[in-house]
Symmetry: C2
Subunit: 441 residues, 2 copies
Amino acid sequence: MTERLVVVGGGAAGMSAASAARRVDPDLDILVLEASGYAAWGLCGLPYYAGGVVGEPDTLVSHPPDWFREVRGIDLQLHTRADALEADRCVVTLDDGTEVGYTSLIVTSGAAPVLPPVAGLDDDRVFTVRTLESAIALRRLLDAGDVRRCLVVGAGYIGLEMAESLVAQGCEVTIAELLPQVMATLDADVAEVVETTVRAHTDLRLGVALRGLWAAPHLVAELADGIRLDVDAVVVATGVGPRATIASAAGAATGPGGALLVDDAMRTSLPDVFAAGDCIAAYHRVLGGPAWVPLGPTANKTGRVAGTVAAGGSARFAGVVGTAVCKVFELTVARTGLTLAEARAHGLAATATDSMARSRAKYYPGVEPTRTRLVHGPDGRLLGAQMVSADPATAKRIDVIATALHAGFDVAALADLDLSYAPPYAPVYDPVLRAAQAVPR
Amino acid sequence: MTERLVVVGGGAAGMSAASAARRVDPDLDILVLEASGYAAWGLCGLPYYAGGVVGEPDTLVSHPPDWFREVRGIDLQLHTRADALEADRCVVTLDDGTEVGYTSLIVTSGAAPVLPPVAGLDDDRVFTVRTLESAIALRRLLDAGDVRRCLVVGAGYIGLEMAESLVAQGCEVTIAELLPQVMATLDADVAEVVETTVRAHTDLRLGVALRGLWAAPHLVAELADGIRLDVDAVVVATGVGPRATIASAAGAATGPGGALLVDDAMRTSLPDVFAAGDCIAAYHRVLGGPAWVPLGPTANKTGRVAGTVAAGGSARFAGVVGTAVCKVFELTVARTGLTLAEARAHGLAATATDSMARSRAKYYPGVEPTRTRLVHGPDGRLLGAQMVSADPATAKRIDVIATALHAGFDVAALADLDLSYAPPYAPVYDPVLRAAQAVPR
C-alpha cells in the first residue's frame, strides 16, 4: 500500500494539516473528508456574513475546493462523512459504509453545538450558526426582509456577535442567557461592564433558559421566566463541545470536556492517529496541562503541526495561554491567561487588581477609558488579564500581556516593558503598564 | 542642614522624580528648578497643539504648578535656570548667581535642538517646537491666518508630525531633509514606504540642507540645491542632543552622544547626583549597554526611579528596547529593538526578513496591508522590528515584539505566541506571527 494521509474534517485545522503535509512531502497521497459542502472556511466570520459585513459566502473561504485539488494536489471530498475509525486496521468508515484505509490519520472533527433541551429547534427559522449552510439560510431570511424580531439564545461571544449583527440590520433582539452574566469567559464583575453595553442595544435577559419553541405559524419562544416572545428568527448560540467521538469511540484518550488528548506533536494515544483543532485539548501554558479552548488560531496552528509531523516532518505546538477577543457593539472585550474564577477553580492562590486608564493621550481624538483586570498570584506571578474598552487597540494590548504570559513574567516585569508611545496611540504609561503599576507591591 | 532634594528641570522626568520622592518621604524638602515658564508638560503633544488637535496649551500640562506646590508639597520654581554644579560642595548655581545647596540632586536637563549652521534662525517666524512657548507662538501665527506656505527642516518624527499638522490646517508644506531618507530611525528601504506617503501630502526634498534664511521682509529660505522658497513660517526639527553640560562640566561620566551615564538606580558617577530623562544614556537590553534614546516613557520611568532612590526608597530601571511609534499622515510607523543598520553598526551578524500581511480579516472594514521587517541573527535571535501600516493597531503590534525582546525570545518563540483573533481585529495569523513565519528556518 502506498502512503496515504487521511484527514477527517476540512475546516481550518483539516486544511491547514493537509497543506502542511503537502509542503513536507510533495508526493504524499492526501485525502480530506469533509461532511459539509464547504471546506477551508472561517467559522469566526459567520456572524459577519450573517450581519451583512461580508457580501458573499465565498469571501469566508480561504481557497475554493478546486484550488486545493489542482494547486495543492489534495484530494478534497465534500459531502463525505467519516463515521467510524478502526485504528488497528488503519481504516475509517464513511456513512455510506465505504472503508478508507490510511497510513496516517488526522482527526479534525471540530466542535458541535450543545443545544438546549427543548423541542422546536428543527424549525427552519432556527439557526445555530455553526455551518456556512446555516449562515446562508439565515442571510437569505434576512434579505427577504421577513425578520423584525429575533431571539438569540446564549450570551457568549457568538451570541453577542450575532446579536450585534442582527441589531445592525434593524432587528429588535432579545437575548436569553441561562447564566447570571454575559460572557462566561470573563469574571462576573468584568462582565457587568459588557452587560451594560449589551442592554443599551438589546433586551437582555440573564438567568433565563429557553423553555420552549412553537411554530404557530409564526415562531413563539417561551422563556423560563414565563415570558412569551413572538419572533421571526431564533439564533441558538448556547455553546459547543468537542466532537471527538470518532476517535474516542476507537479508544483515543480524552481529557477536559471529552476533548482528545494529544502530545506536542498532536499525536493521540492511538498509533498513527493525530488530532488537531476544536476537538483536542491543547496544552495550556499557564495551567501547565491540557485545556479545551476551541479557537481559530489554535486550530490553524495545531493543524499545521499535525500535518507536518504526519507527513514525516518536525514540528511541535507551544501551547495556548487562553487569549481571545470579541467585539461587542462598541466595546472590545479581550482576555488572556486565566480569569480569577478559573484560577481559583484550578486551586491557584490568585488575586485580581482592577485599574482604569486612558487608551491614548487625554487630548487625542478617540481616547477611551480602558478597564483592565490583572489576575496574579500573591507572589506577583502573572496569571491572566481581562480588558474592556471602546478603543479597538485593546485587542493588541491583551496580546502584550499574552506575550508576557508566554515569557512567564511577573507583574513587575510587565511594568518594566518599553512600550510604544505617541499621543495618537497611547498615553505615556500604556494601560498595560498602568495595570501592572496598580498591583500592590 | 536638613535633607533637601533639588531637581534640575521640571519636565516629565523632573516632575516624575519629584513626585516619586514625595511618595517615599512625606517630609523631604523638594525643590524643582525649571528654566521655562511651564512644568510637567508633554513635549510629544506639541505637534498636536500646534496642529489644533489640542485646543489649549494647559491641556498638555499634567498638573498646574500650584497643584505640585499645594497638593504634593513640591517647591516648583519656574523661570529659574540652574547653570552650574559643584558636586563636592553639593551646590548648584542659578543664572543670577544664587547658590542652592542640596543633599541629593537629580539632573533632568533634557535635550536641546541641534540647529543647522545658518543665520536667520532667530526670526520670530522660525520655530523649533521644543518648548511650549515656541508652540504657542506658532499657534498664534497660524490662528492669525498669516501662514500659507511653510518649510519644515528635518524629516524625522517631529518634522513629519509637524508637517502633518500644518497640512491639516491647509498649509502648503515643503520638507527639506539633509539625509537621503525620511526617518533615520528606520532602515532606508522601510523608510521608502513612508516617503511615498509623505510625498503625497507635501513637497519633500531629500538630501538637501538648508543653506540660508532671509527676512526680505517675507521669509526666503534657500536650499542646498539652489531652490529658493518664499515661506510664511519655518519649523526646524533637525534633531536633538542631550543637554548634559551642567553635570558633565562638573565631571560626570558621559557615554553615547554626550549623554550622562547612570547605573540602574539612575546614579551618575558624581556622589549624590542622579540623572533621568532625555539627558541620560539608558541601558539598552538588546545592545547590552547604554544608548541614547530620548523618549517620553523612558523620561517618566527613569525620573520615577531617580526620585524614589534619591529619597531613600528602592527602585531600578529595567532598560529600554528602543520602541517608538509615530503617526505620519495616514500611516502608523513603529519600531522596536535595532534596525538592520543599527545592528550592523554595532557589529552584530544580522539579517532582515520582510513580510506583508493583512491587519484584519480580509473581509472586515478597515483591513490594511501591514509591512513588517524583522531583524534577527543567523541563529534566529530576535533583534528588532519595523512595521508600517494604515491600521493604528500597528502601534500595539510593535509592543508585542517589544515584549518578546524583553523576554529574549527568538523568532520561533515569536511565531508560537497565542495572540488574540477575531475578524474585526486581526487575521487568524496576526501580522506579527506572519512576520515570524516568514523567517527561513
